[in-house]
């Protein structure tokens, strides 16, 4: 029988061997070709624990703390590990009711959360609650406290400039490899601009867990772990005392103050009013408070110092004086006659506030004569040197840009507005090609018309005049960590020159501005012991209401630098709907200057008047003013 069926052994061997071969083929597929099991295994057994470094603090220029971190705890839960416990006691400790408890528990279990993974049960437990909880946590298995840091602002100032920190948006987590859901990121201001040095670098350590999610130690003794790098502290250029003072002066007023050290470009004060307490935009209270601030009709979130655009008015007359001299079409002694207005052949002549009579350049500036500057503008535009209107317009335009008008200054504060500076194309569109002339665009002469300038740009023009021809990009950071020469700060050390560089031309303007303080419109805002230069201004405030252009009360504007010799501060103050520059903006600016230079205020009655003034509620819509 054995010999008879002996060949059958081959059948059996073939069956046995082919089964083993099928197994090997299957193993080859799941182990070598298909990657899904490797990924799943990692997801199951590895917990990638993130180590969050402390975010950098921000100090002012004198080392005073502006932003620091405050410890808080999130109550975390791993639902699978939760054992029976006294829910009533638990709810009492953290101050929720049974319904809320069930909702939170359900949220922790349902996707995208999972009962195996830790998720946030209650955010930002207060320090007292967390202390109580910590003591009794042994009773509540599956719950643990996870420390995290919240931003804290010792003084409620500079909210717009400092910005705030919040959870990353989905858009960022989708595109960035660094940020994960639930991470925090600087959303505006310096927190956004200096996010990378401030945040530091997250570390990760891989923790191996068993099927019950119990930690089993680090993976391969931590050779794949990365160590967190702490965020760097920033030294901000702000003077906290000056900033706080500026915010106080601007309370109950709409407007802004920008103060810059012209010798460095460092921003000393950056006030946008109304502002908000930066402590409102912290952690879990952020979304609610942000919504409330957003709904406020006075728009406290709107950074007027950076993003509001006003007609440059008086400031632009200063620029025109420099351009005229540089183009050699006027000089210090050039005289024009003012009969109370400039008639350019249009429907309405550009009026002056008074019959100025015969004026030289210094008087033209100090008395802010519209007629004078219309003549300066015409002299520039009608220069025979240029053949076509477009050519001379381009020359004029480039001057303006070199003064930082109508162009981004590239400051380090995000969302900088460019302002407006008309282009040839724009005029061609409005009037038609070759159909516009000097007289068509004459309002540019006095900084009106299609011109728009932000308070920051305005202050920067003052810096150029103070420096007699150049500026440093206005910026907010003096040093990153302890390094003032951090590569990202080097661009703030470069001088940017305006197209007018002859100091003699500037001296004329500076003398005229000095005259404004000594005997002109700012005479009431003189500072004892400080010789400074200034220019008052008003910006027309037209608004279209119900299809009608309505003239509202003008914005009060004032620019100045001080002291006259070796200037330390350049300032631009705007108070909306406040009327004459001399009445509100000038005193405020003079108080700021005095405070910064002398650290004291010698004119308490003016200070009191400014502090007490409530322009928002008395003058929000000023009386109509017609021609």
């Amino acid at each position: 029988m054995s010999a008879q069926y002996s060949d059958r052994k081959y059948v059996i061997i073939a069956i046995f061997s082919s089964i083993i071969l099928i197994f090997l083929a299957r193993l080859f597929y799941i182990q070598v070709i298909d990657d899904q099991y490797k990924l799943t295994a990692r997801n199951q057994a590895f917990r990638y624990m993130t180590d969050y470094p402390a975010r950098g603090n921000i100090f002012d220029r004198k080392g005073r703390r502006l932003v620091y971190n405050q410890a808080a705890y999130d109550l975390m839960v791993i639902p699978r590990q939760v054992k029976d416990f006294d829910t009533a006691e638990f709810c009492t400790i953290i101050g929720i009711d049974k319904d809320q408890f069930e909702k939170k528990m359900l949220k922790a279990i349902l996707p995208p959360n999972s009962s195996r993974k830790p998720s946030i049960f209650e955010k930002e437990i207060s320090v007292e609650h967390s202390a109580i909880l910590q003591e009794r946590l042994y009773k509540f298995q599956g719950f643990f406290l996870q420390p995290r840091t919240l931003r804290k602002y010792p003084e409620p100032i500079a909210g717009h400039l400092l910005g705030y920190v919040g959870e990353v948006s989905e858009k960022i987590t989708d595109t960035s490899s660094y940020y994960r859901d639930g991470d925090y990121i600087g959303i505006s201001g310096m927190e956004k601009a200096y996010e990378i040095p401030l945040r530091g670098i997250k570390g990760t350590h891989i923790e191996v867990v068993d099927v019950h999610n119990r930690p089993m130690g680090s993976y391969m003794n931590g050779i794949y772990d990365t160590i967190a790098v702490a965020g760097k502290d920033l030294v901000c250029s702000l003077d906290a005392v000056l900033q706080e003072y500026g915010e106080k002066l601007m309370q109950n007023k709409i407007g802004s103050i920008v103060a810059i050290d012209p010798s460095t470009g460092e921003i000393l004060a950056f006030v946008s009013s109304p502002g908000y307490d930066p402590n409102l935009l912290i952690g879990s209270t952020l979304p609610k408070n942000f919504r409330l601030l957003q709904q406020d009709s006075l728009k406290p979130l709107f950074n007027r110092a950076l993003m509001a655009s006003y007609p440059p008015g008086s400031t632009f007359k200063l620029v025109m004086s420099l351009v005229g001299q540089n183009e050699k079409v006027i000089s210090k002694s050039t005289t024009f006659f003012c009969a109370g207005g400039y008639n350019y052949g249009g429907a309405r002549p550009l009026k002056c506030d008074a019959h100025h009579g015969s004026l030289d350049l210094t008087a033209g500036i100090s008395r802010s004569c519209n007629t004078y500057f219309c003549n300066v503008f015409r002299s520039v535009m009608d220069n025979k040197k240029y053949k076509k209107m477009e050519d001379v317009f381009t020359v004029w335009r480039n001057y303006a840009i070199s003064f930082g008008i109508g162009a981004h200054l590239n400051t380090d504060i995000p969302n900088e507005l460019r302002g407006s500076l008309p282009t040839i194309e724009r005029y061609n569109k409005i009037f038609g090609e070759h159909r516009w002339h000097t007289s068509t665009i004459i309002s540019l002469a006095i900084g009106q018309g299609e011109l728009g300038i932000t308070p920051l740009q305005n202050a920067n023009v003052v810096c150029i005049i103070a420096n007699k021809g150049f500026y440093y990009i206005p910026h907010t950071v003096k040093s990153i960590g302890k390094n003032p020469n951090d590569p990202s700060l080097l661009r703030f050390k470069e001088k940017h020159y305006a197209q007018v560089t002859d100091t003699a031309y500037y001296n004329v303007v500076i003398e005229a501005m000095n005259e404004v303080v000594k005997h002109g419109t700012a005479a009431a805002s003189q500072i004892p012991g400080i010789d400074y230069c200034a220019k008052t201004g008003t910006a027309e405030n037209k608004r279209v209401i119900n299809g009608k252009v309505i003239q509202l009360k003008d914005h009060s504007m004032f620019i100045a630098f001080a002291p006259k010799e070796n200037p330390k501060i350049a300032i631009a103050v705007t108070v909306e709907n406040a009327g004459w520059g001399a009445s509100w903006a000038a005193p405020i600016a003079s108080l700021m200057i005095e405070k910064y230079l002398t650290d004291s205020v010698s004119r308490p009655e003016i200070e009191k008047k400014m502090l007490d003034a409530d322009i928002i509620h008395t003058n929000i819509i000023g009386k109509q003013k017609g021609y």
Partner: protein
Amino acid sequence: MREQKTIFQNIDWVMTGLFLALVVLGWMNIYAAVYNDEHNSIFDISQKYGKQMLWITGAIIIALVVLIIDANFFTAFPYPMYIISTIMLIAVIFFGREISGSHSWFRFGDFGLQPAEFGKFAVGLALAKYMSGLNIHAADLKTKAIAFFIILFPAGIIVMEKEAGTALVYIAFIFVLFREGFSGNFLLGGFFTILLLILALLVNKIVLVIVLAIIAIAIGLFIWVSSRNKKKAKRGLLGVFAILVIASFAVFGVDTAFSKMKGHQKTRINVFLGKEVDKEMKKKAGYNINQSLIAIGSGGVAGKGFLQGTQTKYEFVPEQSTDFIFCTVGEEWGFLGCTFILSLFLALILRIIFVAERQRSAFSRIYGYGVASILFFHITVNVGMTIGLAPVIGIPLPFFSYGGSSLWAFTILLFVFIKLDSNRLLILR
């Protein structure tokens, strides 16, 4: 007769060496599967790996005892052993301790004994004894009936113990019968039985029976029309009808058989078939297969290294030291390790077949085929389960899985054959 000088004389060292290699590798993998830092000695008998060392020591002593016993003992007393084994199988139903729904264990304190594991050995011997008898012809109906009775009687009892997985192993003996001259149809029959069992669980039973009936009628008509010898055709028709009736019973019997299975085992098979009503149970059992695949799949080409496995060590894989021990091989040693281990198993089986074929005694040869078939069936079902190619049936991986009963049973199974082989020149039958 020559006198034997030592018990090791004429021993097949290839089989012995493969046995030792597999046992030691199994031990190492159990160590890795349930390793914990607090008890890091592989000899720590408070842990499974320490206990396995004791089981292995016991297995080696048993192997030596088997080699010392006169070979004639095994050829002389298969039937008494078969009867004793059967009595034990029945007794355990009444006197055994119930463990997760099945009555298949005798418990003596810490020590457990599962008669079903030893039943395979008794059936192997009895089948060898019967088939090697004089005047036994595979073609005889009586031979077929008795052979199947020897195999299926204990299997039926084991089903009643609610150990359907273990009972399934007895199908392996079909290879032995095939080698001894039973028609290849039995092999196909075995194959189709398994297929039918799976289909019956998968497809609506009534539909299945109707389809079977249509096929049977078609074949019957074909036989009737094409055949000239109507008497022969009648017999053919009778055969087809008989098969149909048996198949129908099988189809409807599946439910009964499976309802006798352990609760968790039933779920496991349903999960494999992708047919599961109870969602909660599906989650649980599907989880096992999935975790097993994840552990093996994550091993990659060369594995994560000894003791570096995370899925098995940290209990993601269920029963990681027993039924799912192959996961540890896959995770820590990768594709290369799996290939090596499966090669060792295949080498052992092929060696057994080679050695069986060189026997002058039919008894030894038939017994050898029994050993090879049982080892093969266990490996196929166990490894197939871990890589998702077979239903989750809880049977151990020979020599590898943790546990004394199965290790000792396989040791006896193999060493009796090694003993018979060492005496091959002396035994004629």
